[in-house]
């Protein structure tokens, strides 16, 4: 379980956020996001979990100002999402990297760096460090159009970091990446958080979210179905796990006897298995040590120097204060009365409790959340959710 560093500032705040897609005749075609509330605090990794079509990407697009909310209130750094000033502090990796095919990685990073008005030498330095970090230095002068999906994702991630953002929004960041890249992204996210950066991570890959997120919401059908910290959501207060070196059957029987005396029976006894990801990483590390050749993207290097440099600890909060001083606050939707919001939250909490109750009944507890990536408590829920699906057509989540 990763540690959590929570700041007090609120970078993103959504209240009653709703997005309805309409057709040419203004008829409602899909309710992609339906009256959701959430808050992203500075210095945290906020997970947005949900199956395809649950409204994750639509929410992100609203945060970025790419879509206008149909209802509710949305503030980013205390300002409307369309405000250009707030984007100076945001890094965004979309679900697919929509980059210019004719630009090389160096040119791509240089281009986006220019949009942030980063001076040329600094741009150059950051671009080189980022390319080193994502393992694309060797192909820095090849057009992006020639890249594989994984390589494109890597350059996409690099461009999202070129401005050393305060708020990093990642939509399916590990999609298309090999386990090595996936591991590296997770480590990067943790490292960025330790520097006080805030990350919004949207994914349908449960392990991604579980491994790194502090807070999370689970979306389905455009509504929040569950919310809380990873600990809150995954804690299993009905079971106890004791981890010990391998025990003989005799010892287990003795323990069972002790437990029976206490009126408790053993539900199951298993030898823990190594995670496939760990096994894979182990093999790759050995191969790398043996200097086996590979083509395309090399495994990434260390985190870029400029991303590792510590800024002021209260940087995000100072920024928030500054932005809020400079611009009027986002106006609350007049139709949204505070009472309605409270009521909605109460209903949502009830739903969440019910869902959590179901989840804990269906699945065995995981002693450590990081070890339950393939068959953890989320799996049952997702399978259930996928049975329903929805017919949202305008937004691909």
């Amino acid at each position: 379980m990763v540690s959590k560093t929570t700041g007090s500032g609120t970078l993103v705040e959504a209240v009653g956020l709703t997005k309805v897609f309409r057709d040419f005749w203004m008829r409602s075609r899909a309710r992609a996001v339906d009256d959701i509330d959430f808050t992203i605090h500075s210095g945290t990794i906020f997970g947005m979990l949900g199956p395809n079509g649950s409204g994750k990407s639509t929410t992100i697009k609203m945060i970025l100002g790419l879509l206008r909310p149909t209802g509710g209130r949305l503030a980013v750094f205390g300002r409307p999402p369309t405000d250009v000033a707030v984007k100076r502090h945001i890094g965004f990796l979309p679900e697919e990297s929509y980059l210019y095919r004719y630009l090389t990685p160096l040119e791509t990073l240089d281009y986006y760096g220019q949009l942030f008005r980063i001076p040329r030498p600094e741009r150059r330095r950051r671009a080189e460090e980022l390319l080193e970090m994502v393992g694309l230095t060797a192909v820095a002068h090849r057009p992006v159009g020639e890249f594989s999906k994984g390589m494109t994702r890597r350059i996409g991630l690099a461009q999202a970091l070129i401005n050393d953002p305060e708020l990093l929004i990642l939509d399916e960041p590990t999609s298309g990446l090999d386990p090595l890249g996936t591991r590296q992204v997770k480590e990067l996210l943790v490292e960025l958080r330790s520097r006080g950066k805030t990350i919004l991570l949207s994914s349908h890959l449960l392990a991604d979210v579980q491994d790194v997120c502090d807070d999370m919401v689970m979306l389905y059908g455009g509504r929040i179905q569950a919310r809380g910290t990873v600990d809150e959501l995954l804690a299993d207060t009905d079971h106890t796990l004791i981890k010990a070196p391998r025990l003989s059957s005799e010892v287990i029987e003795q323990i069972e006897g002790v437990l029976q005396k206490a009126g408790v029976g053993i539900e199951s006894v298993e030898s823990p298995r190594q995670r496939l990801e760990d096994l894979f990483m182990d093999i790759v590390e050995k191969a790398r040590a043996a200097q086996m050749a590979t083509s395309g993207a090399l495994s990434g290097g260390e985190t870029a120097e400029f991303l590792r440099t510590d800024g002021p600890e209260d940087e995000a909060e100072a920024l928030l204060e500054q932005l809020q001083r400079e611009a009027p606050q986002v106006e609350s939707a007049p139709a949204r009365a505070a009472a309605e919001a409270q009521e909605a939250k109460a209903q949502e909490k009830a739903q969440q409790d019910a869902l959590m109750s179901d989840l804990t009944k269906e699945e065995a507890p995981a002693a450590d959340p990081t070890e339950a990536s393939s068959g953890g408590p989320d799996a049952g829920m997702i399978e259930g959710l996928l049975d329903g699906g929805d017919d949202e057509t305008e937004s691909k989540d």
Partner: protein, 711 residues
């Protein structure tokens, strides 16, 4: 990996080393100086020597050298000997040492001293050669220091070898075309790189613009146009009729190269302007962009700036090519060109000199006279008998007033046939305000006025393929008039001495409709013959000659070619900027194919504006009162609808077609800064401003993550 690809990668790696760039820079400078600098230096030395010899031979001591030349075959002038073949000398110098023609003598003696192995078009104007040296070295250095060494090597070496091979095989024109294409391609890339560096100073909008320029060099849409143009341009000279007068060749070359450049760039502008924005939206690149601190105004401005920068690059290339080749043609007339010396002079006087123009002051009817004539028509024409005792409708009065005005105007521009005994067979027009022009031309000896005219035939047997005899007299002196054969509808010209301008700055020109053709026997083209011709018996059926207001004009020198040429290109650029704004605007809310189609329709409408405007004059639906029945009503409604659309188009787009800088350059007309200013105001401000503002508003209010594509 192919060999070329491997070589390219190796060169790319190599050019990152500073010492490689330094060596390449030295090579570029040396090559520039060797090719152009040497020509300039040798040319200047020759011209200095030429002037030195000429000055000596017009001085008081000329006879001393003349005798030396005649007796010894050589003379020492300015510390160096100059030789003359005695057999030729006898024709140019009298035995007494008197030089018959200094210019001819100097030309004969200096001919062997002309720079060898250097094209004459290059050394004859050393300043141009130095300019080319500077341009070549600058381009080369930009190419070296902006990462174009692979292009220089991979393009320059094969093109150079192939050109050399063609030269050895005798296909010098092909060699020139090939090497020119290679130079233009390098120039394109170098200019693009230079602009991209400059864009960095502008901020985010500049970054967007620089990426558009990059896109133009790598994406198929723009590259197809650019490469096609850069290949076609060098081939154009091969299409010239080398047997035609040099003036026609120069005009054809200017017309074809500048028109081709503009047409290609215009269509490319449409395609690139539409694609660069529409594809950003379709392929969702804009998701990245809008999530950065880039306002929609900066985005749109950047795209527009990128497209017009590319326009500037291609225009510079096209116009440089046309100007350079004009210089080449001017100094290297083909051997079979007719009267080459005279032709060169005509090219210099008529095309390579910018002329201002004046049209005659045609009298107009005053208000009283118009009213009287309208009343007379209403009173006398049986068609309007119904209005004898009632007030005619205002619309009818308006129409009649127009008719009266038009008829009077046409009457001022018509000369009846000499056979039409009822009226004088001539018409006079007066130019005024020429006092300054007179002074200016008289002080610049040798300059003259150029009367350009074009007649049409009206009535009678008017075969326009035959020549017609028209007499022209200045300031009403028919007895000193001159008869000439004119081909109807073809523009022709007559040179007039500036002394003909009266003291009050007016000049009166009389056109006499002599009708006869062929010319009666025994009559020559002498001034005194005009009266005689009018008395000769008629041989053809009567006809009137008529002309439009712009058909008669007086031109006089008012500046150099280069200035006008540069301003013409600025006007062209402004026109292209307007087209870019149209394309960018369309792409903010339409998909690529639809935006392209809409933009091209506007381009066509704009280009045809003057024609549409003229055609609309002949396309007037009948008055509604005259319409009867359903069929006629539908037809009337349709006609009215079409006319409304066409009128709107002409109103909105008319200004685009009114600016015709290429035509003016070819005709040797001046383009002043006022015209440039007008084009900037009308097209740059009134076109681009509203279009870009509307486009910005659309983009700002559009939900850019809504999409219906399947990419």
């Amino acid at each position: 990996m192919s060999l070329i690809d491997a070589l390219r990668r190796a060169l790319e790696r190599a050019q990152r080393r500073i010492w490689v760039r330094v060596i390449a820079s030295i090579v570029v400078i040396a090559a520039g100086l060797l090719i152009f600098g040497r020509a300039a230096w040798q040319g200047q030395a020759f011209i200095d020597r030429f002037l030195e010899v000429r000055d000596a031979l017009v001085s008081d001591e000329a006879h001393v050298w003349a005798v030396d030349l005649l007796e010894n075959g050589r003379a020492e002038i300015g510390g160096a000997f100059i030789e003359l073949d005695p057999s030729i000398g006898e024709n140019l110098i009298t035995p007494e040492g008197e030089i018959r023609s200094v210019d001819e003598l100097v030309a004969v003696m200096m001919a062997p001293l002309q720079p060898a192995n250097v094209p004459s078009w290059l050394w004859k104007e050393p300043s141009v050669a130095w300019g080319m040296a500077a341009a070549a070295i600058t381009t080369g250095l930009v190419a070296v220091w902006t990462g174009l060494i692979p292009l220089l090597v991979l393009l320059g070496v094969p093109a150079g070898l192939a050109s050399w091979g063609l030269w050895l095989l005798g296909a010098s024109e092909g060699a020139l075309a090939l090497s020119t294409a290679a130079v233009l391609l390098v120039l394109f890339h170098a200019l693009t790189r230079m602009l991209m560096l400059g864009m960095e100073l502008i901020g985010p909008a500049g970054a967007v613009a620089a990426t558009v320029l990059r896109e133009s060099g790598r994406s198929r849409v723009a590259l197809a146009f650019v490469i096609t143009l850069l290949i076609l341009l060098p081939l154009l000279p091969l299409s010239l009729d080398t047997g035609a007068p040099l003036r026609h060749q120069v005009q054809s070359l200017l017309d074809r190269s500048l028109s081709l450049t503009f047409a290609m760039v215009a269509v490319m502008t449409m395609a690139l302007g539409c694609s660069t924005i529409a594809f950003d939206i379709r392929d969702r690149h804009i998701w990245h962009l809008v999530s950065k601190p880039l306002g929609t105004h900066s985005y749109l401005a950047g795209k527009w700036l990128g497209v017009i920068s590319l326009n500037a690059v291609v225009l510079i290339i096209g116009s440089t090519f046309a100007a350079a080749w004009t210089g080449y043609l001017r100094w290297s007339p083909p051997p079979d060109a007719m009267n080459s010396a005279a032709d060169i002079a005509i090219v210099s006087d008529e095309i390579l000199t910018a002329h201002a123009e004046r049209t005659p002051d045609y009298p107009e009817l005053d208000e009283n006279e118009i009213r009287n004539r309208v009343e007379a028509i209403l009173r006398e024409d049986p068609e309007y008998a119904q209005y004898t005792d009632s007030v005619p409708p205002p619309r009818l009065v308006r129409v009649l007033r127009e008719e009266v005005r038009d008829e009077y105007g046409m009457d001022q521009r018509r000369a009846e046939s000499i056979l039409n005994q009822s009226v004088d067979p001539w018409k006079s027009v007066t130019f005024s305000g020429l006092g300054d022009v007179r002074e200016q031309l008289l002080s610049a000896s040798g300059e003259s006025l150029n009367l350009r005219l074009r007649f049409r035939l009206y009535g009678g047997s008017s075969d326009e393929h035959q020549r017609r005899l028209v007499g022209i007299a200045i300031n009403g002196q028919l007895e000193n008039g001159r008869a000439g054969a004119f081909i109807p509808t073809v523009r022709q010209q007559i040179m007039i001495s500036p002394r003909a301008i009266r003291e009050d700055g007016t000049l009166e020109v009389t056109f006499v409709n002599l009708t006869h053709w062929p010319v009666p026997a025994g009559i020559n083209w002498q001034p005194a013959d005009l009266r005689a011709i009018t008395e000769a018996p008629p041989q053809r059926a009567p006809f009137a000659i008529v002309w439009e207001a712009q058909d008669i004009e007086l031109l006089y020198p008012a500046g150099g070619f280069l200035g006008t040429y540069t301003r013409a290109m600025v006007v062209q650029w402004v026109k292209l900027a307007a087209l870019s704004a149209v394309a960018c605007f369309m792409a903010t809310f339409l998909s690529f194919p639809v935006a392209c189609l809409a933009s091209l329709t506007i381009l066509a409408g704009a280009a045809l504006g003057p024609f549409l405007s003229q055609a609309l004059g002949f396309f007037t639906p009948p008055p509604l009162q005259a319409v009867e029945g359903v069929g006629q009503t539908i037809s009337w409604a349709l006609d009215s609808f079409i006319r409304t659309i066409a009128s709107t188009l002409v109103y909105l787009l008319g200004s685009f077609g009114e600016f015709t800088p290429i035509e003016r350059v070819i005709q040797g007309r001046v383009i002043d800064w006022a015209m440039v200013g007008r084009s900037v105001l009308q097209l740059g401000l009134f076109w681009c401003g509203p279009l870009l503002l509307t486009g910005w508003w659309i983009l700002r209010n559009r939900q850019l993550a809504l999409y219906s594509g399947d990419s």
